[in-house]
């Protein structure tokens, strides 16, 4: 579950979601228009089926998605990346789906879902409202899985543009190399060397905002400033694997 305090709001007009308190800020975002979502689903269609009789295709079927643990459809061959994220506690809710659909690498490095991402928050919310129809009791929201809105994990382009100081990154990396090996070897903790800097920064901010679930990494990223993350990205990007 995503941490932070979740409150829940509903109006007669349909699916209104969430007061999501992250730090001091509170967001209330409309989950979206399921009719628009139905049209957007054509972007997913050649890989995913949804609705009665849906089967696994290139991607797993997407019925009963809400509240489901990631990578939990029997018989579908998931990537190592998403299985690890699932073991770390990743579940599908409006916020995690929004992060995944925005850029699958936000949440799951090494995911097999080869989808460029949907940058527009409103479109994502529309699509999620549509996906919500195929979960348990979609109309009966309070009893069903509590879903939350997007809490602004959209990374500010200014953050991605920050130039890090590799020397500072070198010093800061001392905290990381207690677990991550500079050789890039993965004996149970993933490699973080020679990544594209953007992917690294996205992953770190996803932990920091607690969109990615892992408690160790949430704690570590939670203490890092934007500049520090950029410096670490710059340092690790230039280690040869």
């Amino acid at each position: 579950m995503v941490s932070g305090l979740r409150l829940f709001l509903m109006t007669a007009t349909g699916i209104w979601f969430g007061l999501f308190l992250l730090g001091q800020a509170a967001f209330a975002v409309d989950l979206g228009d399921k009719e628009k979502g139905r049209k957007l689903f054509k972007l997913c269609k050649h890989c995913h089926q949804i609705g009665q009789g849906a089967k696994n295709r290139i991607g797993p079927h997407l019925n009963l998605l809400f509240g489901r643990k990631a990578a939990s459809i029997d018989g579908f061959r998931y990537s190592k990346g998403i299985k690890r994220a699932a073991a770390g506690g990743l579940e599908w809710h409006a916020d995690t789906l929004s992060a995944y659909l925005e850029n699958p690498k936000n949440l799951v490095s090494g995911t097999r879902m080869n989808f460029v991402g949907m940058k527009d928050l409103d479109q994502r919310m529309d699509l999620i409202a549509y996906l919500r129809l195929f979960s348990d009791n979609p109309a009966d929201i309070p009893e069903a899985d509590p879903t939350v809105s997007d809490a602004g994990h959209d990374l500010d382009p200014a953050i991605l543009a920050l130039k890090g100081d590799p020397d500072y990154g070198d010093y800061l990396s001392g905290e990381c190399t207690a677990c991550h090996q500079t050789s890039g070897q993965d004996d149970g903790v993933p490699s973080i060397v020679a990544w594209p800097e953007d992917d690294f920064v996205r992953a770190m901010h996803a932990y920091k905002k607690q969109v990615r679930q892992h408690p160790v990494m949430q704690m570590i990223a939670g203490r890092l400033s934007d500049d520090e993350i950029a410096s670490l990205a710059a340092f690790f990007a230039n280690i040869k694997e």
Binding site: A178, C179, G188, V216
Partner: protein
């Protein structure tokens, strides 16, 4: 060492003033000298980072009697049969050949703080500009009635890894059917707070397969211990009825052992036992007393750079240090060593000193694929190393999460031992 050497007591903030200009070097010749006593979690890391980052600008000597360091971390997994003894052994070859650390296999037996040299058991004198002590722990004499270090073969502590760990395992394997394994748990503070309880879990795991009617008896002077709810839940599910934990309410703090008779008395009630793992109260490794930087038990340090409060040119790392909120763990020693190395390098070569930052995570294995973890991050305040935030595994977690914790801990072990020994 006499009390007259406590001239630096009070610990003025000196690190900053040393930023701009390197010290006048004590020994006259060019390269500043850092001597590290103890090649364990803290000492090996400090030596490696100093040598690696100074690229020849520092002369780094590591003094350590053993040629192979056996990690205490994961030694419980050896007891449980998940690791071989060899998996725990690390040599100093890479530190010497890959990083240019001068590794001296000897005991440090004296520290002259005025003349700034370390005396070795072999007689040599090793001069320093900065000295790092990371000697780990020694036991407080008389803390368990009836036990002293001469009894360690009959009643092993296995709290320094290697032959003691091997001995304890051999004793468990030789227990008669339905026999009794006893542990005398230590009072706070001690090395690796979850360590004794992970050990109980691993012994139970071993006995469950080899000797399922055996019993485990734990006498504990503490009413609470690390990850208590997680361990007790796990003991209930995996080893129901096997483990009897006796806290201070029932005399766990009133214990006498008799190594010749192999008995354990708890509040006067004498039990015959087959194995008795005595983990006495602990204090800083003896060299901290010899150097006169200890308060009697531990060596007080400044959080920002791990420098001793008694001497600005001595730094103390790991278990031996009295630093504040961090547990005594290998992870913590490794984390402190990097902060210390950065500060010493800055002081001696003028390189940039970045702010101190620490973290710790400790995993424990309760049963096959049932791993739990606890962790926290810390910052340096004027007073101590202070906890900032933390997390702990929850009771009732699913099996996949627990299995993943174990896998992660294996990744950590591989990573951190490379971070220490290269």
């Amino acid at each position: 060492m006499g009390l007259d050497r406590r001239v630096f007591m009070g610990g003025a903030a000196v690190a900053a003033s040393s930023l701009a200009m390197p010290y006048g070097f004590a020994k006259g010749n060019g390269t500043p000298k850092v001597v590290v006593i103890g090649g364990g979690a803290g000492g090996a890391t400090a030596a490696r980072y100093l040598a690696k980052d100074s690229k020849g600008a520092l002369d780094v000597t590591l003094i350590e009697p053993s040629r192979s360091y056996y990690t205490c971390f994961f030694s419980n997994l050896y007891l449980g049969g998940f690791k071989n003894l060899d998996d725990l052994a690390h040599s100093y070859g890479t530190l010497a050949s890959g990083y240019g650390v001068n590794v001296v296999h000897d005991w440090a037996v004296g520290v002259d703080r005025d003349k700034k040299y370390v005396r070795l058991a072999g007689g040599a004198r090793v001069p320093y500009d900065k000295l790092i002590l990371s000697p780990g722990i020694d036991f407080v004499e008389g803390s368990v009635a009836g036990w002293d270090i001469l009894a360690q073969n009959k009643m092993p502590h296995a709290y320094k890894a290697g032959s003691q760990t091997e001995l304890l395992k051999a004793q468990v394997m030789a227990m008669p059917a339905g026999g009794v394994f006893a542990m005398v748990a230590p009072p706070n503070p001690f090395r690796c707070p979850p360590g004794p309880y992970e050990r109980i879990s691993m012994v139970a795991y071993l006995l469950k397969t080899h000797n399922p009617t055996a019993k485990i008896l734990v006498a504990d002077p503490k009413p609470k211990f690390s990850k208590m709810a997680l361990f007790q839940e796990g003991w209930g599910t995996h080893y129901d009825g096997m483990i009897d934990w006796i806290g201070p309410d029932f005399g766990g703090d009133n214990v006498v052992v008799n190594p010749d008779e192999m008995t354990l008395s708890i509040d006067g009630e004498v039990t015959k036992v087959d194995v008795c793992n005595v983990i006495p109260a602990m204090k800083a490794g003896r060299i901290a007393e010899v150097a006169d930087v200890s308060d009697g038990r531990w060596a007080p340090v400044h959080a920002r750079d791990m420098s001793s409060k008694a001497d600005k040119d001595i730094h103390v790392l790991g278990d031996a240090a009295l630093q504040g909120d961090m547990p005594k763990s290998g992870f913590a020693a490794n984390s402190q060593a990097k902060v210390c190395a950065n500060a010493i390098r800055g002081a001696l070569t003028g390189s940039k000193i970045f702010p101190a930052k620490f973290s710790n995570t400790c995993w424990s294995l309760i049963d096959d694929d049932d791993g739990v973890k606890v962790g926290a991050s810390y910052k340096a305040t004027d007073e101590k190393i202070a906890k900032v935030s933390g997390f702990i595994s929850k009771t009732g977690e699913d099996a996949a999460t627990r299995a993943n914790n174990y896998k992660e801990s294996e990744g950590w072990y591989a990573g951190i031992t490379k971070d220490m020994f290269g």
